[in-house]
Assembly symmetry: C2
Homo-oligomer: 505 residues x 2
């Protein structure tokens, strides 16, 4: 089981009264304004659950009591399974789980610059992330421009499964892509079960409309569900949510709130509107399947008024993370937080500063799942090789931070202090040798050389050093062995579905 | 009155039991190991206060009850006065006060590189800091290598007073330098009083052994007192402490704890030893003058085992800040924390990341005074013009963070959400226009341009952009008018003391 135990008390940025007001405002929004779902099945499900539905306006108006009661059906904590059970993670409770950047159209490294994402680049990013243990879940993804849009989701997940032992992030954009990914995970886990002497094996799962028995009661994939804020879920997202919930898989419900554009500019309203949108989708998942695993997600930030870009790494984002996580705690829902984000185009001082300014609030809010925890640049337009390794060092420092400073006779070391005495030093003490490895974080990228040594070594800044680091890590990558029958069944599925999609185009 | 109101609940990184154990360990260290003071007057003061003193070993052994009782005489909160009362700050309570880098031997900027500090460079740094409102107290200082070591403290403070309206950081290295700085502040404040029709004026204060009436009950300058850890205060520091306490001025007592070198490697022991060292000096100040203002300071960090350098911006430092601040709270002492520190040689990703990793714990620990909050590079060896402005942006973001997210009818904006409806946007709303300026932080350095625009503008990273920024700010500097009689009295004092020092050399 991977992840880091977050031992901080959560910071409640909203007073109890303020939290109550945000909650009440959300319920009023849900009751009076309602939320649009551009998907007839969603409307029908809500109607049958007793909510008022305006079919012409595709709008659902929510009863406050129903909202609270239904949201409470979601699990507070669950295990998310990986191909390799060593990489299972727990979402909820005290754990924090880091996942790499997912979704940018561009890829960059310092030597080759920025370019359109390709499958080759993505595979290298997946390999790189595989060598970084502090990335606990998921694999990087870029929009592979060298593949056909209609079927690339098949290739992407296929390669991710083959190259990585970690848990998977799937596509939830519409019923077809969602089902394809759910089917692939069913094949994978049927294969895993068969290798362990359970179930009917991967080829059975792959045959025809693959039965999803192997994953029916086992969360193995997460899908990101974004609202089309304000107060709307479009067809594709509602379809994806329903498909994932039906299959008992994880919906990460993340309203896209950019205060001033997709919500009112005031953060209080942004949080209240986000809360309404998130609860509406959490409830849909519970109607589809009571107990369906969900994350209450937030990506809330402000708007850069001069350029219209979302502003990452800012105080507004920090306040957004803390207040969002506080609302998730109120409903006992595991929480996804924005990510370790920046607007910077390169891994420079701005990036380091903005990212750390996201990471601390994520930890203080006790966010459970951090997507885009490493590798993100340029407001999410670029996945960067250098940023992957630089950000990993931040995350590793977090792991050391949470081991804390245990206080006991051995760590207080009064006899060592007495022994060394005034004006001595502790470098040569046996106590120092015994503890320094556990006590200190040993960075691989941060420079602590003397100035002259640093100059002799080429006066390289962190961005330059990161290039050498990711190349070294990538070279160290070893492909984890996938059971050949499973590999074959997956490849067959991908080939068959790719042909079918091409034929229907 | 300047400073930022820190509204976070303090993070207690030590459990109540752990905090108690650290406290008890400190008292045992003070009682059984004692602390060395290489200054006969200090030993004599402790002896007369009833403590056991070993004169041969220059060691004081402390009675635990006396420690607690005497430390409680220090004020919990006090005002630190500036030349311009608009720049007065409060130390203690809810306030956090930022001060720029102080002390490096080198100065650097991106175009001219690193070089020995000079008075001209320092004056430019002081001017630059004067244009940055989020630096609430103090002025930058570098070791001006172009001035005679024996008398440069006079020129340095003289120029700082002339160029800046803000409160002053003085020299506490030995009796002579301490007295010179106290005398200069007395001249300054006698001048301020005279201009306001009070007191006898600056020339009277400057005449002969300057009477310090003007500052007797008015804290106007802080001195940094570092222990020579483990468990030792050398002659110069003890002399400085006594001089500042006698004059009712502020001793910022900062043990120099580098775990693994000057304390045991385990952080629990480092905090306990630091606490013992800090309390010993806090008590000396209270013996000299009950109620003398002090700050409980911490610079605690780990050792970089490969190079022997102190490791800044690391999880060890974050834990050190939080546990140190917690101990200061226990004794109700206002607290100084390490600073916004980095080992990086340039303002790169490492610097941004490490500095933000210092700033958050400082805020969470509710540290009251942050020295080296801007401009620090290379473990404190370099004061950087670019770092000054980049760090200032971090500090400004803090100010916005602490205005929080007020929740009320206006900020919840339910009618705006109803008005815009599902699928609309809020950019054109009157509510947006009314609030965006207060709601968002508007950075001056962070880039949020579209990628192509950024390329067109020269693909400049944050470090490059910072050069243009500091030059612009420096050009905007206007020297604040100093009352001519005070200016003259200060210049006379500096000239007279410089001659006297040269004559005695």
């Amino acid at each position: 089981m991977r992840g880091i135990r977050n031992t901080l008390q959560p910071v409640n940025i909203l007073s109890p009264e303020a939290e109550e007001k945000v909650h009440e405002a959300s319920l009023r929004i849900l009751r009076d304004q309602g939320v649009s779902f551009e998907e007839p099945r969603a409307l029908d499900l809500f109607r049958r659950a007793g909510q008022r539905v305006d079919d012409a306006g595709q709008r659902v108006y929510f009863d406050p009591g129903f909202v609270i009661e239904t949201a409470a059906k979601a699990p507070q904590r669950f295990v998310l399974h990986a191909r390799d059970p060593e990489w299972d993670v727990t979402l909820g409770g005290d754990d924090v789980v880091f996942a790499p950047v997912s979704g940018p159209p561009f890829v960059a490294d310092r030597e080759r610059g920025r370019r359109d994402g390709t499958l080759a680049d993505q595979n290298d990013l997946v390999r790189l992330a595989e060598t970084i243990d502090v990335l606990h879940h998921g694999t990087p993804e870029v929009a592979c421009k060298d593949l056909a849009v209609e079927s690339r989701h098949l290739d992407i997940l296929g390669h991710q499964i083959r190259l990585s032992r970690k848990g998977m992030i799937g596509d939830a954009w519409g019923t077809e892509r969602a089902r394809d990914h759910l089917d692939m995970m069913a094949i994978l886990f049927a294969g895993i079960d068969a290798a362990a002497g359970r179930g009917r094996g991967p080829s059975s799962a792959a045959a025809g409309a693959a039965p999803r028995d192997a994953i029916a009661d086992r969360p193995v994939i997460i899908g990101i569900i974004n609202s089309n804020s304000p107060l709307r879920y479009d067809m594709t997202m509602a379809e994806g949510l329903i498909a994932y919930a039906e299959a008992g898989q994880v919906n990460v419900i993340t309203p896209f709130i950019m205060a001033g554009a997709t919500s009112p500019v005031t953060l209080a309203a942004a949080v209240a509107q986000q809360n309404a949108e998130a609860l509406a989708a959490v409830i849909l998942a519970q109607i589809v399947r009571p107990g369906a695993p969900v994350l209450y997600g937030s990506f809330l930030t402000g708007l850069e008024m001069r350029t219209g870009a979302p502003a990452f790494g800012r105080p507004e984002a920090a306040l957004g993370i803390l207040s969002s996580a506080q609302m998730a705690r109120r409903y006992r829902l595991p929480c996804r937080g924005g990510g370790v984000l920046t607007n910077s185009k390169v891994a420079d001082h701005q990036a380091g500063q903005e990212k750390m300014n996201m990471l601390w609030p994520l930890l203080l809010g006790r966010v459970h799942y951090v997507l885009h925890a490493a590798g993100w640049l340029d407001g999410g337009l670029t996945a960067s090789f250098e940023a992957m390794v630089l950000d990993a060092e931040m995350l590793e420092m977090t792991a050391r931070f949470f081991t804390g400073l245990p206080v006991n006779d051995e760590s207080l070391a009064l006899e060592v202090i007495g022994h060394v005495g005034a004006g001595g030093h502790f470098l040569g003490e046996e106590h120092t040798r015994r503890h320094f490895k556990a006590e200190f974080y040993f960075p691989t990228l941060a420079d602590t050389e003397a100035y002259d040594t640093w100059v002799k070594k080429g006066s390289r800044d962190a961005h330059e050093r990161a290039t050498a680091r990711w190349k070294k890590l990538l070279a160290s990558y070893q492909e984890p062995r996938l059971d050949p029958a499973t590999d074959e069944a997956l490849a067959e599925f991908v080939a068959r579905r790719t042909r079918a999609i091409a034929a229907s185009a």
